[in-house]
């Protein structure tokens, strides 16, 4: 199932500031379905990687305490216009997601 990733990149000098919002429920396993009362299973992103031109710049391991629809902001030095920023993630149920964009011109 495709879960959208919204990504924005801004270039300031040689620093690319990346902001990303990943659509994901990040279920803790503690919640119950309000209708049926059945427990909602644990469902959360375990690994997320951000890469610049295919080289990892941020590698993460996450627990279920990352907030729903995870937001991350990071800064990558040595970036230039048209470089490729990509994000990929995998969760505890084996679902995965991927998105990429290009570093824009200065501004």
């Amino acid at each position: 199932m495709a879960r959208p990733i919204r990504m924005r990149v801004r270039l300031d000098g040689d620093v690319a500031e990346v902001r990303a919002l990943i659509d994901h429920p990040m279920e803790t396993g503690l919640r119950k379905d309000p209708g049926t009362g059945a427990p909602i299973p644990l469902h959360f992103i375990q690994n997320l990687t951000v890469s610049l031109n295919g080289k990892p710049v941020l590698e993460t391991q996450w627990g279920q305490a990352m907030a729903r629809n995870p937001y991350i902001q990071l800064r990558i030095h040595g970036a230039k216009p048209d470089d490729e920023v990509s994000i990929e993630w995998v969760d505890n149920q084996g679902e995965h997601g991927h998105a990429s964009t290009r570093v824009p011109a200065q501004g």
Binding site: L58, T60, M66, A67, P70, V90
Partner: protein, 156 residues
């Protein structure tokens, strides 16, 4: 003869494209998983156990780890947290929320030009100490901040 050869070729091409699809389907999660996932640390039920299982030892208190978080978080389900380290050689930041059922929130490793900086949002179950650990040249440093949580965020 001729038709047989064509059919065989089609069959072969079809099997190739199936193989490629399977390979792609498998490759993506494997790539992301290369980073590993520290199950004992994430499943630890108290902060000391989580810190030890995460491999953090002899962490020195350091004001060079800057934690930005609200003093009072109205909604424990979405607590904005920004952490940066001015300790030279910082290549990883770990976040713990002491009173969470499972206190280890996450590990962020910086490489290939990424600044030791992360801004994100976490869940906090209760008013608690927020703990940021920085790893630099194999040594660990720690700073803390208290965050008052009005409505806990783990059962929501």
């Amino acid at each position: 003869m001729e038709t047989n050869a064509i059919t065989n070729r089609r069959r072969f091409l079809r099997s190739l494209s199936t193989a490629a699809a399977i390979a792609l389907g498998w490759m993506q999660p494997l790539l992301a998983l290369a980073a590993g996932w520290n199950k004992p640390a994430f499943e630890a039920g108290n902060v000391d156990g989580a810190i030890t299982a995460a491999g953090v030892a002899d962490a020195l208190p350091s004001a060079d780890i800057i934690i930005k978080a609200p003093e009072i978080a109205e909604n424990g389900a979405q607590v904005p947290v920004e952490i940066s380290s001015n300790i030279p050689g910082t290549d990883a930041i770990l976040i713990f929320s002491d009173k969470n059922v499972q206190p280890y929130v996450g590990l962020f490793e910086f490489k290939n030009g990424a600044e030791p900086f992360i801004s994100t949002r976490i869940k906090m179950g209760d008013t608690s100490t927020l703990r940021a650990v920085a790893r630099a040249n194999g040594r660990y440093f720690v700073n803390t901040r208290e965050v008052k949580v009005t409505i806990g965020g783990c059962g929501t």
